[in-house]
């Protein structure tokens, strides 16, 4: 099935087109159409997965453990759909919020390079190939984060670069050790070998290296410092893109590795993940409540939400993994949406600093409604998506008697509520401050400005309304992860139509 490679090949083609295209208008149009096509491709793959089960493609006509295998299972395809939906909304957003200047088509080249990397990371079935996609993501995000060349951006870029370079080195080292021990890098083959292996001592060194490498990418507790130092510096479109996709690729890799083949010393690693998850939630939430810049609040908030996903992985029951997947879907959409709102607030008021803005409720009621949706979704107010995501995780936690992490999760929801209410109070309810900083002329936003946020808002609401259906798919994904026999079988034995 060559169609599996389309989420990689199509952005690749578009990169070529963007190198050739000179006009900014044409580039914007192509980007919107291209990302819409990506949505269609991923939905098509979803139906294929529903029909045939796990899809595999061995590149280059080699047989499976030798070839680079592309694997699409429920988890991959759900991530593909959500990420393509996000980039579709962002490509519309970029028309209005990326300054259209000299060489602005270059933004689209790296925008699609990033999409290619993210899609590749989601569908690859080979550890080294995953490393390559991580580097594609890394390089394109390096370029994106410093578009504009302001002092803060360069500084943020250096911090982002520093930790992520070390992360990729650790990834490579872990990969080398893993290959030395098993002689394979195909994930399914690794699972087959390592699940039969009793000794954990030899594997733990690689597990530790991978844990730290993905921990840096996912911004979990002791390794997250690059994120709040850099995410608030670039153009808000790029911040939103990173917020929606980058850290989630790290979480995806953690889920994939720790369910598929790092299962030797689970008592230790799952507890470790549980502790990390708890600290990530609390530290992120508390730091978010201490800030007054919208982008900083939201950046710390990303970290806090990563904790929930890790918590689902750490509890390691089918229900908990399904919860983590559901939470990822919900969080990617809602989190990106809050960043879009922050960009619109900045557009109207000219600043991200909460103390200098106010009175948005009367000024733009639509924006208020659009903010309420993702904010309430993130806090977990029914019937929006976040409620069900948190409910499943808490239920799974209680069932497996991990009461402490449940208490932490519930308390962190309070912290989330606090920081969302702070944004609401300061930006929307409060009277507009009459300081010099407040912009004198009012900027009117047109419908196009709101459209991406409306799309993601509707997606959030639908995710809540059809939670049962989505949860069904998340459960199937979780079952595929917990019982990887089907995964191993379809990769190694080619049980593909």
């Amino acid at each position: 099935m060559t169609a599996i490679a389309l989420p990689i090949l199509f952005p690749f083609l578009l990169i070529l087109v963007f190198i050739a295209v000179k006009s900014n208008r044409t580039a914007q149009l192509i980007a919107v159409v291209g990302t819409a096509v990506l949505v269609v491709i991923s939905i098509y793959l979803f139906f294929e997965v529903q029909k045939y089960g796990i899809l595999t493609l061995d590149m280059g006509g080699w047989k499976s453990p030798m070839a680079i295998t592309l694997v699409v299972d429920y988890l991959s395809v759900l991530m593909l759909i959500v990420s393509s939906l996000i980039v579709f909304a962002l490509s519309i957003y970029a028309i209005y919020f990326m300054p259209g200047q000299h060489k602005s088509t270059r933004f689209y080249v790296f925008f699609f390079a990033l999409i290619m990397g993210v899609n590749g990371a989601f569908i690859t079935g080979d550890v080294f190939n995953l490393y390559v996609w991580f580097e594609v993501i890394l390089i394109s995000s390096f370029v994106l984060i410093i578009i504009g060349n302001s002092k803060e951006q360069l500084e943020g870029g250096i911090k982002y670069m520093a930790l992520n370079l070390i992360g990729s080195l650790l990834f490579l080292a872990g990969l080398g050790l893993l290959y030395g021990k098993t002689g394979t890098l195909n994930m399914a083959h690794l699972a087959q070998i390592l699940r039969a292996e009793e000794q954990s001592i030899l594997i733990n060194s690689s597990t530790a290296l991978f844990f730290i490498a993905f921990g840096i990418k996912a911004a979990v507790f002791p390794l997250f410092f690059w994120l709040p130092a850099s995410y608030h510096t670039p153009n808000i479109t790029i911040s939103a893109l990173f917020a929606g996709l980058l850290t989630k690729v790290g979480v995806y890799a953690l889920i994939r590795f720790f369910t598929l083949f790092f299962v030797q010393d689970q008592a230790f690693w799952l507890n470790m993940l549980l502790v990390v998850a708890g600290f990530t939630m609390v530290v992120g939430g508390m730091a978010a409540s201490a800030h007054y810049d919208v982008r900083r609040i939201l950046s710390y908030h990303i970290i806090s939400q990563i904790g929930y996903m890790i918590m689902g992985l750490a509890i390691f029951t089918p229900l908990a993994i399904a919860g983590a997947i559901f939470f990822m879907i919900h969080n990617m959409i809602a989190k990106t949406n809050t960043f879009l709102i922050a960009g619109m607030i900045n557009k109207i008021k000219g600043t991200f600093y909460l103390k200098d803005i106010g009175g948005l409720l009367s000024q733009s009621p639509l924006l208020a409604v659009l903010f309420i949706i993702p904010a309430f979704a993130l806090v977990g107010v029914p019937p929006l998506s976040g409620f069900f995501a948190k409910f499943i995780l808490v239920k799974a936690g209680i069932e497996s008697k991990d009461y402490i992490i449940v208490a932490v999760a519930v308390l962190t929801a309070m912290l989330t509520l606090y920081s969302m209410i702070k944004i609401w109070n300061e930006a929307f309810l409060k009277e507009s401050p009459t300081t010099e900083l407040a912009k004198s002329e009012e900027v009117k936003l047109r419908f196009g400005h709101f459209l991406p946020s409306i799309i993601l808002g509707i997606a959030s609401v639908l995710l809540g309304l059809f939670a049962a259906t989505i949860f069904e798919f998340a459960t199937r994904a979780a079952n595929q992860l917990i019982e990887p026999a089907a995964y191993i079988n379809s990769v190694l034995n080619h049980t593909m139509p």
Partner: protein, 138 residues
Amino acid sequence: MNSVILQLAAKYIRALLVFFAFVALLRGHNQPGGGFIGGLLAALSIVYYSFAFDRQKIRKQLTIKPEGYIALGLLIILLSFLPSIIQGETLMKGIWISIPLYPLEELKLGTPLLFDIGVFMAVIGITLLFFFTLTKSR
């Protein structure tokens, strides 16, 4: 830099480097070499030349700009996927044709060579882009 020895040497070394770049590119299927190494050598020839002469002038004189090399390389890589798709094989499978050359043995051409040429081009472009960006006179 303005050294006569370097300038004179550069002309010959450039020719040599380009020659070895192609040798590395063509033998690289089963032996040491290949697109990346060939590309580096080819880019080095231009880099070496621009050490001896005026860098910005060399940059202007390039018929294909570094960005053009990258685009061309990526395009060729994409094209090298096409034969396998058209033949209905799995993606990126090497498709070979052989052209009989009477006095010699046959000449085997395949998509891996096309892929290597794409890498060759892209590496030239990227290396030159890096070089000219890092050594921009200020």
